[in-house]
């Protein structure tokens, strides 16, 4: 039932001259689902978004968005339901922020009166009358988000939306994105900033040189990678830790940090077993931290696994 899916990409290959931008890529995003595209520069993230938007055509394979071919003639109408923030957004420099939004709102057949509210939402209310040519990078990016939000789209494609934004702006940016997701908007965004994605997106797809090398939620990726989790034990006692290595169960490795801290690495499935063991057998510790593999760890894992060397 392809019409239930927001985006469906099947066996898509796209080659520029001799450069393979995407190779036999298959991927789908369900209705109301969100997706983060992860990958190095040149991995094919932007190419994938342009294919989904119908700006370029695949050499092979099939692309559907909201059930239609984005490069076909039936796509004009469904664009009413799309919002796009390009990687390097460019505006008409002679127009003001308000005029820019008004132009795009008319094209989407939306009331121009709503634009002021949108500008306020992205924090550009005060700069609405200023020429876009005089906007800073952050302001342009926010105006870019505002135009993407015109007409309450069902699908939002954001290509590296936070590059060049300061941490505060990033934070407010992701707050808006989360509000949208809560409202049921499918947000597809690409990034190579790993840490901020962890907190903000649900499904993740990792691209490498045009190939999809992993896909799933953070939990699913952790299961697939099966990377060890780490337990760090701290001791406040004067004596610190004695040698506990000899008594640890098999399959658990330890790394002393200093006399008063020690780090254990273990398979995720043995977490509870290990906690019971520690409480029973290691009286020296007063405190512990458990760290799951981060998205950065997973990303590196999948990247390395896909290049056997």
């Amino acid at each position: 039932m392809p019409d239930k899916q927001t985006v469906c990409v099947q066996g898509v290959t796209k080659t520029f001259d001799t450069q393979h931008a995407l190779e036999n890529l298959t991927l789908s995003v369900g209705a109301g689902e969100s997706l983060a595209l992860l990958g190095h520069n040149g991995a094919g993230k932007t190419t994938l978004m342009k294919l989904v938007l119908g700006l370029i055509r695949p050499d092979a394979g099939k692309v559907r968005i909201l059930g239609v071919d984005p490069a076909g003639s039936g796509a004009t109408e469904i664009r009413q339901n799309l919002g796009y923030l390009p990687e390097n957004i460019a505006f008409y420099p002679a127009l003001s922020g308000a005029e820019t939004l008004a132009f795009y709102a008319r094209l989407k057949r939306q009331p121009v009166a709503d634009c002021a509210r949108l500008l306020d939402r992205v924090g550009l209310g005060d700069a609405a009358r200023k020429k876009v040519g005089a906007y800073s990078k952050g302001m342009r990016q926010r105006l870019g988000l505002a135009q993407a939000l015109i007409g309450n789209p069902r699908v939002l494609l954001l290509d590296e939306p936070t590059t060049g934004l300061d941490p505060e702006l990033r934070h407010s940016f992701y707050n808006i994105v989360r509000e949208l997701e809560d409202d049921g908007v499918s947000v597809i965004l690409s990034s190579h900033a790993l840490t901020e994605l962890e907190a903000h997106t649900r499904k993740i797809a990792i691209l490498r040189k045009g190939h999809l090398i992993a896909a799933g939620t953070l939990g699913e990726l952790r299961d697939q990678a099966n990377l060890p989790i780490h337990i760090r034990l701290n001791s406040h006692q004067a004596a610190g830790f004695s040698d506990i290595a000899s008594s640890l169960p098999a399959g658990i490795t330890q790394r002393p940090i200093n006399g008063h801290a020690i780090e254990l690495a273990l398979p995720p499935t043995r977490k509870v077993e290990m906690l019971r063991y520690l409480v029973g057998n290691v009286p020296e510790f007063d405190d512990l931290d458990i760290t799951q593999p981060t998205l950065a760890d997973l990303y590196l894992h999948f990247q390395n696994r896909s290049t056997p060397s």
Binding site: G54, I56, L82, Y104, R106
Partner: protein, 274 residues
Amino acid sequence: MKAIAILASKEFCDGIRNRWFLGAAGALMIFALGLTFVGSAPSGSVGVDRLAVTTVSLTSLAVFLLPLMALLLSYDALVGEIERGTMSLLLTYPVARWQVVVGKFIGQTFGLGAATITGFGVAGLFLLWLAPDSANWHGYLLLVGSSVWLGAVFVAIGLVISGLPQQRGAAAALAFIVWLVFVVMYDMALLGGLVADQAAIIGPSVFNFLLLFNPADAFRMFNLAGVEDIRAAAGLLGADMAGGLALSGALMSLFFWTTLPLGLAVFIFHRKSL
């Protein structure tokens, strides 16, 4: 339809906003006024209507300037937006590619047309004062109308140029070459051929037929052949160009030189990867 109107009006307003309109209307007005006064100065040719003389010289001005202005305006229309990066965003809106081309065509044609009407209109007001009871006013009105059309022809040709290359610089060079070919070289080549040929193959009818292949010449033919006194003022063209055949041929030429390039621009832009 609505999308075309929105894009056309943006294109038109851009022309006013960046003062292109002011420059074009001003330049046309100054040249037209200059020719009006020169053409109306008392001269030896008694019996020739002043308005007809001015119409002939304004026709030459229009043939020279309007294609240049139109190409300068439109060569950038597509490739400029592609290069600056606004096009890919625009095409994610509910706008078909052909609507982008047609919208720009209409907006720029209206902009150039308004500048033409303003420039020639002001000159016309002076003529009204200089030659109030001339019998050739319809010739002047036809000149203004066909000048707007000539602008449309070269806006359409400029859109084809704008859809071809990847860089604006290449489009600019191409636009200049196209102007040179249509406005300068075609006539020179034709005259050269005529001289070399010694009227062996190229008789008057073949010559007229060849003129129709160039929209600039078709425009000239339309304006110079149409009105008796204007024909007289233009002198050289004589009886060969008289008659409805030249007129309808010229109109056909202008019609095809508008629709075919426009269709070609849509076709090219439709196939373009962004």
